[in-house]
Structures are given as structure tokens and as C-alpha cells.
Amino acid sequence: MTHILYLAAGFILLTVAAGLVRVLYGPGEVDRMMAVQLLGTGGIAALLLAASASGVAGVEDAALGLALLAAFASIAFVNSASSDSDPDGARDG
């Protein structure tokens, strides 16, 4: 069971990290933020799985902190990116 949990943690982490390719290509700022948002959630899931597998105390608390702070970064991004002038030439649609 331990191996499977670690495997799942690694799989989820590497999967969402692949999504970071969006940070490279964009095109808009929001697309980049979405990739980081997904990485945050995936990282939390991976930490929870690793916590359950390893039994090291306090890893859940680290995940809890990560959950709060991932939101924190996203909020700051949205706040700055959607500022009144919005001339980033996104080419989506």
C-alpha cells in the first residue's frame, strides 16, 4: 500500500508539473496562473498521499499551510493581472 501511495503522489505531482508547460507558452497571464493553481492543488494532493504513506508527523500541516498559501498567491496574481489597464496581447479564442 505504501508503494502505491507514493506512486500515486509521484504520478499526480509529475502530471500537474507537466501542466507547467502552459507557463512557458502562455499565451495570456491567466493561463499561466491556471497552471500554477493546478500545481498548487496537485502538490497538496501529493503531500497528503506522501504524509499518509510515510507517517512523518506534521506533513498534513504543511499541506494545510500550502492550501492557504496557494490561494494567497493566486489572489495576488488575479489582483495584479486584472488591473484596469489590461493590454496583454492574449491570442486565445
Partner: protein
Amino acid sequence: MTFYRALDLSLALLVVGIAAWTVLSRDLFGAVVGYVAYGLLLAIVWVRLLAPDVALTEAAIGGGATGVLIIAAGSRLRSMQTSEPGDTANGIQKALAAALSALVAIALAAVMLLLPEPAPTLAPQAAGGLEAAGLGNPVTATLMVYRGFDTMLEKAVLVLAVVGVWSIGPDRFWGGAPAPLGRTRPKRALVFLAQMIAPLGVLIGLHIFWVSADEPGGAFQGGAILAAMWIIVMIARLADPPRVGSRALRLALVSGPAVFVIVALLGPFLGGSFLSYPPGFVKPVILFVEAFMLLSIAAAIPLLIAGPPLRSPRP
């Protein structure tokens, strides 16, 4: 075991790759997004190195607060969207910089691979503090007992940094409030989120502080989470940064190092030495000191992000 090696290797490659993106990315916004992702991944690396205390600190301060600091500065400069100035360094200079950096990296990597066997460790000395204090978390014991002096000075550094940031502002605004962090009309979803998440976050921050005697956590991590909640509240414009002249604010700011110094000075009178805790009351006294440190950190980090005063002290 090869399975775990593969996981570790891919995690390391990821971290180095996203760091390279952060450093080499063409625009500032992309770099900051990369940096926040880097902070998240680094927190996972710290868990892998069996340091959940550091993971929490890195996620909160290294990734979160530093990211927000740069984002806030970038939007104040309005340079998030403007194009970067062209590279000043020419090809030869870049090659020299790359060679120097590569040399440093290779030397460090060689040192890391040639570390002495068996590894020197201070764990037994730190464990002594652990038993004397009746604490279960070795990192807290190290911070408060074995290396208490470092922690005390570090708190003073934080206060000095706030004073430094404040004094960078123009003279005529001294005593006034820093510029607001959010926009004039914040979105309703943001206000809702701030109202919901801030009380929960305060609870979690206090929890992480409270369990730190025995489990990972501590005044740094709890304080950083409290600080993040205050910043969210300020971004949602539910509260604006306070005037830097406010007495309550200044008291909160210095309370951490002040209480630590007072307790340290009381040591000799209670039968110990400087920075020793009264025997029999070690754990409660440490928690008492840490509670004020929590307050100090929760006040200092948002003030560092809010920046120097930019509003007239008299309304």
C-alpha cells in the same frame, strides 16, 4: 528503490527547470509565476528531506510572501506588461557570467558529493535541549533553547528591516500609512473569499503555532500564515495598511524581541545564566516568548510587503 530514485530525480529536474525559467524568462510576470511554482515545488523537496518545519516556512515566506512582494512591486511599477529593457550584457559578458556561475555550481556540487563520512552532526547537543525543555519538536528546541541567541537576534533583524523599509519613504509621509494593496473597487468574489478564508486561516495559524512544542510548526510558520491572512484582507480592501505611527502597531512589532530579551535578562536572577529559562517552567516560558514572536512576525511581514508610508500622516 530505483523507483524512488526516479521520483527524486524527476523532482530535482523539475525544481532546477522551473528555477531556470524564473531566471531566464523574458517577462517579469512569467518570472514571478515561475517563482511561485518554484516555491511550491521546493516545499515538496523539503518534505522529501524530512524537514516539514522548513517546508512550511518555505511555502509561506519563500514562495508566498516573496512572490506577493514582487507582484505588488511589479503592479506598482506598472512594468508587468511593459517590455523589458534590452539585455545590457553582451555575448562575452554573458559567457563570462555563465562560466563563473557554472564554476561555482560545479565546486558546490563537488563539495556536496565529497562531504565527510560519517556526517558530523549536532543532533545530540540539540537533543539535550529537547529533554531539558520537555519539548517534542527538535527544531523548536533548537530555535528556542540550543540556538536561542540566534533566534532572538533574528527577531531584532526583522524589526530593523521594517524600520529600514519605513525610512526609505519620502520624509513628508513619515507616520502616515503605506499605499493600499488592493484596487479601489475589489471584486466581490475576492471580498467573499477574504471574509471566509481569513478566520479559518487565523485558526490554522494558531494551530500550527500551538502544536509546535511537539510537532512541526512554530512561531515562524504560524506567524507567516497569520501574516498571509492579513495581506489577503488588505488586498480585498477590508482593511488598509495601518499608519506607521500607530503605537499599538509598533508595540506589536517590538513585542517579540522585547519579551525575548526580558526573559533572557531574567535568567541570571532566577538561578541560571543569560538566556536560560527558569527550571521547572521551561516549556510554559518558551510558549510565552513564542506567542509574542508570533505577534511580531504576523505584524512585520505584511508591513514589509506594504512598503514605506506613502500617505500624509494627517487625514
